[in-house]
């Protein structure tokens, strides 16, 4: 053959193919209204978190124009050490100055929520990524090799799943200083070695028995080649889907731990609610009076969690052909 058959560099072709599959995926995805809603909410929160640095500046230029000194000293929009001296009693109800009110320490709730947003993302995605990487590799290897490796990891998963994860994290919080990253790591590992391995292994098993694996084997492919070139690419969509669902779990766990005051995180949505609870604003009739202390943060947790869940389920219908419409 004299002519070059492939006219473009290979990477360019692959990029094109990739873009094309992305586009068809998006076509399918667009039909799932709930998933699009989820994606919308996620994008909203991402933007919400990203514009945080602008928020104090804007507020300063509107409300503190005449008192730059006070703004400097009390840093009224600082999520951790802020205080607004011009308001008589804290917590104060939402006003123009503080769109979501202030907490008992005089901090601006909106700035607290905004400040926490990127942290929730980082935590959720890190934890989910760890989970999925562990789960995919172990699941694929267990399915492919079987035998001792399989038995070991399956029993390990059994034991990990035996622990009520929240209770275990609570115990761990007593001797591990649960910072954001450590928490992400632990949550990620707990679910990575647990249930997700089972699911991904089951999927990998269905891949393993398909003839193209045998075809590769009969050509002389090594075990690692088959696992990484054939099995993992085929379970990757499912892994990605579980990653989305795991983000939900991780954010939820973090919020609960923070709410119980067991995580060493200075500021997060869970911490905001915990603040309200520990200073007694969730008791009896004051619940309704001081709604801004718990409602916005709680709604944020719920919304972000469900957004990732919606996204995950939307993806599931693309990834899992059995759920597609005929």
């Amino acid at each position: 053959m004299v002519d070059a058959v492939i006219k473009e560099p290979l990477w360019k072709i692959r990029l094109k193919l990739w873009m094309r599959s992305l586009r068809t995926g998006w076509e399918l995805f667009r039909e799932r209204k709930l998933a699009v809603f989820g994606l919308g909410v996620i994008i909203f929160f991402a933007v919400f978190g990203l514009v945080y640095p602008l928020y104090p500046t804007i507020m300063k230029n509107i409300f503190w124009k005449n008192d730059p000194f006070g703004y400097q000293t009390f840093a009224p929009y600082d999520p951790i050490i802020g205080f607004d001296p011009d308001i008589m009693s804290h917590p104060s109800a939402p006003s123009f100055r503080h769109p979501l009110g202030t907490d008992p320490l005089g901090r601006d709730i909106l700035s607290m929520i905004m400040y926490s947003t990127p942290r929730e993302f980082v935590l959720g995605i890190t934890a989910a990524l760890i989970t999925v990487v562990i789960g995919t590799i172990i699941g694929a290897s267990c399915a492919y090799y079987g035998g001792v490796i399989d038995t070991f990891f399956m029993r390990l998963a059994d034991i990990v799943m035996l622990f009520p994860s929240l209770a275990l994290l609570m115990v761990l919080s007593a001797f591990i200083d649960l910072t954001l990253f450590r928490l992400a790591l632990i949550i990620g590992m707990l679910s990575g070695f647990g249930s997700i391995t089972l699911v991904l292994k089951a999927q990998a098993l269905t891949i393993k028995v398909r003839p193209f694996i045998e075809a590769a084997k009969s050509t002389g492919a090594s075990d690692a080649y088959i696992i990484f070139r054939h099995i993992i690419p085929n379970i990757l969509p499912l892994s990605f889907l579980y990653m989305m669902l795991n983000v939900t779990g991780a954010i939820f766990t973090e919020a609960t731990l923070s709410f119980l005051g067991l995580a060493n995180i200075r500021m997060s949505w869970g911490v905001i609610i915990q603040m309200a609870e520990s200073s007694g604003y969730l008791m009896g009739a004051s619940i309704g009076t001081y709604w801004w202390l718990w409602l916005p943060a709680g709604v944020c947790i719920t919304l972000l969690c469900s957004a990732f869940y919606f996204l995950g389920r939307g993806l599931e219908e693309i990834v899992n052909p059995r759920l597609r419409k005929r």
Binding site: K33, L34, R155, D158, I159, L162, F163, P164, S165, L166, A167, M170, V171, A174, F175, T248, F252, A255, T256, F259, L260, I273, L282, G284, A285, I287, G288, W291, W294, L295, G298, V299, I301, T302, C305, S306, Y309, F310, R313, R322, L323, K325, R326
Partner: protein, 383 residues
């Protein structure tokens, strides 16, 4: 079947052994000890501390204590609690167990009944508005931040509507002068509910033999109404009805919250499996046989989709403790979850280990039950 069960029990015992070991060493690794808080107390001299230490068995080396613990565990002795000294861990657990289990059993039962029905309908009308709306609300409730839901419910029903008590197990003012304990009454209530359940089940089994649907309904309704009337009158006659009512009233809000939270999970599971089943050829066959839609849906599709739901149900019952922590904290409900939180803050390690171990046993037992149930529901599975 027996062979399989034997194998499974053997597996469970080994798993449990490893689990208990891990839990024990995990607790040993906890920094500090229960006695640390007496360090600052001038009234407790070092001698007394030594004495306490000996009493608690903390003077022996860790490994001896581990062996000791395992030996005791074999005879189901979970040791003595530090903070409730000299109460046994097992007695604390069994005192609180009924409250937690009742809370969860009721809410799980209700939510699965709801979830089963809703999931079934939603899958059958997939893609329609009904389906979209149920799925949407389902996911929102499934991912809702549980404390938020609890606070919201307290606010709505306790504060705004004012029809339900906010939290706690009983109203202390009411119970100040009574001679009997709330626990006793609660157990009797449980017994009552249990009897009602049994009567209902028997009526169900009998009604299977009946020919017409009307007869079935009459039998079910009369038997349940009669039992309810009899038990209510007994409560009134004994004069304890207001106290019983008090307990029930306190239970409504936590049960409602938990039901709301967990019905979504079962509904989504039901919907997903149902969607799988609907594509099967036997569903098309059933339709081709000229069966009405409702029968195809209920008898053919839902029956097959039931299997994963049942496993899910049994296993979710097993996880009552960790689920209980938040709910019980929010509603000041003195159950196992609260006990766990208290034990953690008190560093009462025997109680902590005991609670974790107990959960483990409970979960493993639930798995076993799920296996057996599965074999009954799915004729293809013969162990």
């Amino acid at each position: 079947m027996l062979k399989f069960l034997g194998k499974r029990v053997f597996q469970i015992v080994i798993l449990l052994f490893i689990y208990v070991t891990i839990v024990f060493w995990l607790m040993e690794a906890l920094p500090g000890s229960f006695l640390d808080k007496y360090l600052m107390n001038p009234k407790i001299t070092p001698e007394i501390r030594e004495n306490l230490k000996r009493q608690f068995g903390l003077d022996k080396p860790v490994f001896t204590r581990y062996l000791y613990y395992m030996k005791n565990f074999l005879v189901l002795d979970l040791g003595v609690s530090f903070s409730y000294f000299p109460k046994k861990v097992s007695s604390i657990i069994f005192e609180r167990l009924p409250r937690t289990v009742f809370l969860f059993a009721t809410s799980t039962l209700i939510s699965y009944a709801f979830g089963y029905n809703l999931g079934k309908r939603s899958a059958w009308r997939r893609g329609k508005v009904v389906d979209q709306v149920t799925t949407f609300t389902g996911i929102i409730f499934w991912t809702i931040f549980l404390p938020l839901l609890a606070i919201f419910n307290i606010w709505l029903f306790g504060v705004i509507l004012g029809i339900l008590p906010l939290n706690q197990f009983i109203e202390p003012n009411l119970w100040r002068h009574v001679s009997f304990s709330a626990q006793d009454l609660f157990l009797k209530l449980l017994l009552n509910a249990f009897i009602f359940l049994i009567v209902f089940l028997i009526a169900m089994i009998i009604s299977r033999g009946l020919k017409t649907i009307a007869a079935k309904r009459i039998l079910l309704y009369t038997s349940s109404i009669v039992t309810i009337v009899i038990s209510v009158s007994i409560w009134i006659l004994s004069g304890k009805a207001i106290y019983a009512w008090d307990i029930i009233k306190h239970m409504v809000l936590p049960v409602f919250t938990l039901t709301l939270y967990s019905f979504a999970g079962s509904m989504l599971v039901m919907r997903d499996t149902m969607l799988d089943v609907i594509r099967e050829d036997y569903i098309t066959t059933a339709k081709a046989k000229g069966l009405p839609d409702k029968i195809v849906r209920d008898k053919h599709a839902a029956r097959n989709a039931l299997l994963p739901l049942v496993t899910n149900f049994v296993i979710s019952l097993g996880f009552t403790i960790s689920g209980g922590i938040i709910t019980e904290t929010m509603f000041s409900w003195p159950g196992l979850g609260r006990a766990y939180l208290e034990a953690l803050s008190q560093q009462d390690s025997p109680l902590l280990i005991g609670l974790l171990v107990f959960t483990g046993v409970f979960v493993l037992f639930a798995h076993l039950v799920a296996d057996i149930l599965y074999a009954f529901l799915d004729p293809r599975i013969r162990y």
